[in-house]
Amino acid sequence: MCLGIPGRVVSIEDEARHIAKVDVSGVKRNVNVGLVLPDGLDVGDWVLIHVGFAISKIDEEEAEATLGFLREMGEMFDQELDDYRSSGIA
């Protein structure tokens, strides 16, 4: 639960509730992006996700590097992705 995973914003789903669809390694799920909104958020931006919340915006280079590092974790990253897949935030 403590991994921060990078994902890319695909679409804004619910503006009032700060919900956006975010793609993590091909898995697209809803995430709360309210905590990073003061920095402005557009489709295509990268965010660091923690338990269904974007906690920080990151640049593409950082996102790629972090994803590479997480993939090296093997099973642990697969587990995190499975958890993300199981999420159904509305």
Partner: protein
Amino acid sequence: MTGAEGMRFVDEFRDPGIARTLVKRIDALAGGGSFKFMEVCGGHTHTIYQHGLHAILPDAIDLVHGPGCPVCVIPMGRVDDAIAIARTDGVIFTTYGDMMRVPGGDGSLLDAKADGADVRFVYSPLDALRIATENPDREVVFFAIGFETTTPSTAVTLLRAKAEGIDNFSVFCNHVTILPAIKAILDSPDMRLEGFVGPGHVSTIIGTKPYWWIPERYDKPVVISGFEPIDVLQSVLMLLEQIVEGRREVENQYGRVVREEGNPRALEAIHRTMELRPQFEWRGLGFISRSALKLRPELADFDAEVRFDVPGVRVADPKSCQCGEVLKGVIKPWECRVFGTACTPETPIGTCMVSSEGACAAYYNYGRYALREEAARARKGATA
């Protein structure tokens, strides 16, 4: 054990060149000295063991593992409280997966589930809230654990539950704050540390300012670090540079993610929903004052501790478990008497073996490095 033995691990890095340069500089600065640095965060512990950093670094550098593993620090009594709530009629009890297997005084949440309690894994507190809207005739409780990284998520979920009037949702709040735990460790007489590798994601939320009392009052350097092996090596080098140059500061190695002011919106959400408890028990560390959060009285309707009968009984840790010593960095996981024998990730005795961020589990899972290291030590000993 620098040189040939340890450096072989470096070949597996994505950027072995940089790693090699960093280790050389660390070696040169550390000289024949002896430096004990604590990595506060379990994520760093994981990186250190997965990538064999403890073997790559010179003997002069000793990395000790801190209390920053959220699952590891929850005391047994709180697990029992969670189980008591989960067993209440009509309750759906939701929890992060890691918490399921943590043993309480009388079994784990997983055991309670096997006995018929409705315990469900959730990825996010917002998933717990969704379950509440889908089950209006049930009481849905979320087992909130974690440091400042996770706390804002609970806070925002609470604000939404309140705004939308989802009144069958409540939170069993066990959020803890990292700084009082660091202070408790600094004040503990059996601990001698030269500096701290500071947590990356916690600092994304709280920023770099809240650490300044560590250099100012305790004369210890802090370097907030990213999670890649190169980040941790660079942070160790930055700590050494501070010491050698006579500086004591809070430096930010993870500036690409962590800002000085943290995330003000997240801090505001925490402030609006939670307040400090006078004290809270940490597994292994005992009671630490003002080290945890509870819901504000305005949110009493969403507070599981108000809505349910919580036994609140203190349960002593099992005698054979030395998690407390591991969490304070006093002993290394393999120095625990039952490590790898009675206590394994399949049959954990203590929490440090449950979470993949716990030092015992991280060390157990990446034992291949440990074994190679032991072998190298033995060889070195034989030629010395």
